[in-house]
């Protein structure tokens, strides 16, 4: 026991000693002539526009606490209050409230001037009143979320009879199409996650976390689905696909919600319509593994909800509680889930093809793959936030 303590505690004690020695001598201090100026970072996480002006949630980064000395709005110093007041320690946040008469539909630029004279800019692209949390707003967002997630998946499932009547080749084609669709979603989701992570406070290292969480979620799902060492049932595979697509749709909901909240949605109605068309293919993907059996309607409904309802949740969160850091992590989770499902569907497809001549199967598989990606890309053109 004592031996174990020494073995484990020893290295830690040595580490502490090293830290103490570092601060005692500060090797970088002498050659660089004293302490260099602090490196400050300030990131805006949320923007709320209402009748009392502009409210911004800011987060500090960098090596030293950030003191917001003054705030400029559109090139004018403006009165503001900060809650909580005072210097912001690394990674801590505060609300900055500016009683500024912003103009609906126009662009406003906010510049934070810190104590050291550094400036951090934040642009409100299209000023628009931030929706308030009430039953009406939640109702509207829910309806929008159903359009975004649930309806298209359900519509996609209507292809079930057509696909079912096709036989083995159709099944392979549908599965390949699913892989193509998922591959598109994987790249899309990872891309969005990294882009959003880039807008989060740098100190949080969100981009690094995106990769880690994506990898971990893939591995975790891989392990969970093999918990009892048994093969995937077709229903299990369909549920996995639905779950992965659900997390992706959560991300889409977040994106649309935050775009609406900030007034940045480029084309309100077209955006939603675009997502609806975009997501129809997802329904095809979910039912593909079930073509060789006859699932109950209730099961199909469950799959639709698993894949589609997260869009509603995403819209709520995106509109009322959006932060780049958490949105990036949610998308990373989705990316990992999608990757895992791609592998599962790919394995299933390979087993299927193994039973027959490859020269016949490959054109079908490649055709499905390419069509899956192509459909997602082309319908994706309708979606520009």
């Amino acid at each position: 026991m004592t031996r174990a303590i020494v073995q484990i505690g020893g290295p830690f004690a040595a580490l502490l000693l090293l830290v103490a020695a570092f601060f005692a001598y500060e090797p970088l201090r002498k050659p660089f002539g004293g302490t260099p100026p602090p490196v400050e970072e300030l990131t805006v996480e949320r923007t709320v526009l209402d009748e009392s002006g502009i409210a911004l949630k800011v987060r500090a980064g960098g090596t030293d606490p950030v003191s917001i000395a003054q705030v400029q709005v559109d090139g004018a110093f403006w009165r503001f209050t900060q809650d909580p007041p005072g210097a912001l320690p690394r990674l801590s946040g505060a609300w900055v409230l500016i009683p500024y008469p912003w103009v609906e539909g126009e662009t406003h630029k906010i510049v934070f001037v810190t104590r050291t004279g550094l400036t951090f800019e934040h642009e409100i692209e299209v000023a628009w009143p931030t929706p308030k949390v009430d039953a009406e707003a939640l109702g509207r967002l829910t309806l929008a979320g159903l359009f975004l997630g649930v309806l298209p998946v359900a519509l996609g499932m209507l292809f079930y009879p057509a696909l079912k009547s096709g036989g083995a080749v159709t099944f392979q084609f549908a599965m390949a199409l699913t892989v193509g669709l998922l591959a598109f979603l994987l790249v899309d989701t990872l891309g969005s996650a990294l882009e959003i992570a880039g807008r989060a406070a740098p100190g949080l290292k969100s981009a690094l976390l995106v990769w880690i969480i994506a990898a971990l979620s893939c591995l975790l799902l891989w392990g969970l689905t093999r918990w009892r060492g048994q093969e995937f049932t077709p229903l299990g595979l369909a549920a996995s696909i639905a779950f992965a697509i659900g997390v992706h749709n959560l991300g889409e909901g977040l994106a649309v919600g935050s775009a609406f909240a900030s007034g940045a949605a480029a084309l309100g109605g077209f955006l939603l319509l675009g997502f609806t068309l975009h997501n129809v293919t997802e329904g095809v993907g979910i039912i593909a593994p079930l073509l060789e059996r006859r699932p109950q309607l209730s099961i199909l409904a469950g799959l639709v909800c698993l894949a589609g309802l997260p869009a509603v949740l995403g819209l709520w969160l995106g509109t009322f509680a959006y932060t780049n850091h958490w949105a990036a992590l949610a998308l990373a989770l989705g990316a990992g889930a999608i990757l895992q499902v791609i592998i599962e569907v790919g394995l299933l497809l390979r087993r299927q093809i193994g039973k027959q001549s490859q020269s016949r199967a490959y054109p079908v598989v490649f055709g499905g793959l390419i069509l899956g990606v192509a459909i997602m890309y082309l319908t994706g053109l309708l979606v520009q936030i």
Partner: protein
Amino acid sequence: MSRMNDWLRWGASRRGLLRASGLSLIAGALGAAARAQSTVDEPQGYAGAHRMPTNAHGDHGGMITVGEVDYARNGFDPSKVLTDWDQGVVSPWTDGRTLREFTITAQDKEIEIAPGIIFPAWTYNGRVPGPTLRVTEGDRVRINFINSGSHTHTIHFHGIHSARMDGVPGAGEVAPGESFVYEFDAFPFGCHLYHCHSVPLKRHIHKGLYGAFIIDPDPARHPAQAELAAARLLGTPQNAHWQEFVMVMNAFDTNFDEENEVYAVNTVAHAYTRQPIVIDRRRPVRIYLVNVTEFDPINSFHLHANFFDYYDTGTSLTPTLKTVDMITQCQAQRGIIEFTYADHETGPYMFHAHQSEFVELGWMGFFDVRDAVA
């Protein structure tokens, strides 16, 4: 389902038409009947923003820096900079003339240029602008310049002097820890300035190395306009009737991107908005105005509710512009402004640059015109 276009009514209203048509497409796909509306939503939610409470002048409708500058720590107070003429140490010179000796030390110093914003300045005598040197036409002027800063500096005077006394690289440039004596006769009379002429020039000027240099006319040299000259000459009874102020229009590039974040007269943004300049309305006002703003080609001065006479460079005793309410100055241009509030009501009268950008970034102030000033 008939109000489908309401689902997304947070879309921008100017895009209402697109939104409505987009949603009707969705409705069409579902086989439902949608009443596409292209009406524009009423603006909502923000309207109150235009009626936000505005307080007294000190708040200026919210367009103001927040907090107070610690003048004690800065070591200079803009309200005092207005009038603290430095006339030097006086002793007799040949031909009955006067020698005025000044000691100016360049030093690095962090100064607060707006509440909470600390600027790593280079200063003359620890203040920005540097001391306002005030001499009389024909005086012998001797400047003992000591460089205690971290970089090479000079003092380049706008005036008439020899090449050796020009204060440029190669003539009177002083390395850190060394010193130099500039000496010349004070000509011509007027409102002038001095500044560092070491390179890089922009950096040495915008970091704070500048100040006003006023040469008062000698009435004996202008017999035809002796009274006018006497009114300019500090210390005469005629001059005592005037209320004189120096205003150096400057700006600060706090993040060193060659654009100014803060504009002011005499360094501190909104200094005279918070502490208006008290004016006795019975006595005329004379302002020695100097522009040292870096990065912006011109600066300007606008007086509210009044007009003034302007003496460009101050080198004449008759105005170069009569009855104007705004003048512009290029960098290093300067002049004298004269006006009176004798026939005005008492109250706060605004003055500021008439580039709105400069106003909104700190260059504005008030004259507090009163009946009697203690």
